[in-house]
Subunit: 121 residues, 2 copies
């Protein structure tokens, strides 16, 4: 048996970020992967909703502030070496900016990645 | 409605890697997050089992070659901007090197991350 530390700390990468897997608490669907810095993680717990760090905009990203597609925090887990966070959330509306329920809609077919038909609007 | 490209390509980061979320195809549990380079991804599809890139060892990591805890590939999805891969797998044995069924066993309690009781052995 491996010895498992009783406590863990988030391990930030060299940009001060940690990857965050966001999962629908009800369906179990994986919704998206995003990133947090220390401030975003603190705000997520303080506000009970997902707050990320947008790498493209280099700013805090309160998921849903523009779209209304807020992610209410249900549970949070850190992994065995502290370098990934798993959030379980109640997703309001679509998780993906494309209007799809989650971001993982490209499937592999004959070596290509093709968009599946969606009922997004 | 946002315009969604019909096809997508994996978008490798500046280390030539892409994060991979691995999910149990049956239970929906998120098992782990790991990384692939282009060769690891090609081998995953060629062999029908998860092959990662170990960042700590800087080598290909055929999940299960040492432990027997192979991950049979069931489905693979790329996300809306091509920078995350989601694998659904049939997990043989424990996904986590600690012997736990998945890597996400630290829960938050009063600002600390504590290991949950496990039935690992």
């Amino acid at each position: 048996m491996n010895t498992i530390p009783n406590t863990m700390l988030p391990r930030w990468n060299d940009q001060g970020l940690i990857p965050v897997i966001t999962q629908d608490a009800t369906s179990g669907d994986v919704l998206m992967l995003a990133w947090m810095n220390e401030e975003a993680m603190a705000l997520t717990f303080a506000e009970g909703r997902a707050v990320y760090w947008s790498r493209s905009r280099a700013e805090l990203w309160r998921k849903g502030d523009t779209s209304g597609h807020v992610q209410e925090l249900v549970d949070a887990r850190l992994d065995c070496d502290g370098d990934t966070l798993l959030l379980k959330v109640n997703q309001h509306g679509a998780a993906c900016h494309t209007g799809r329920p989650n971001c993982f809609f490209y499937f592999r077919s004959e070596g290509q990645w093709l968009a599946e038909e969606g009922d997004h609007s």
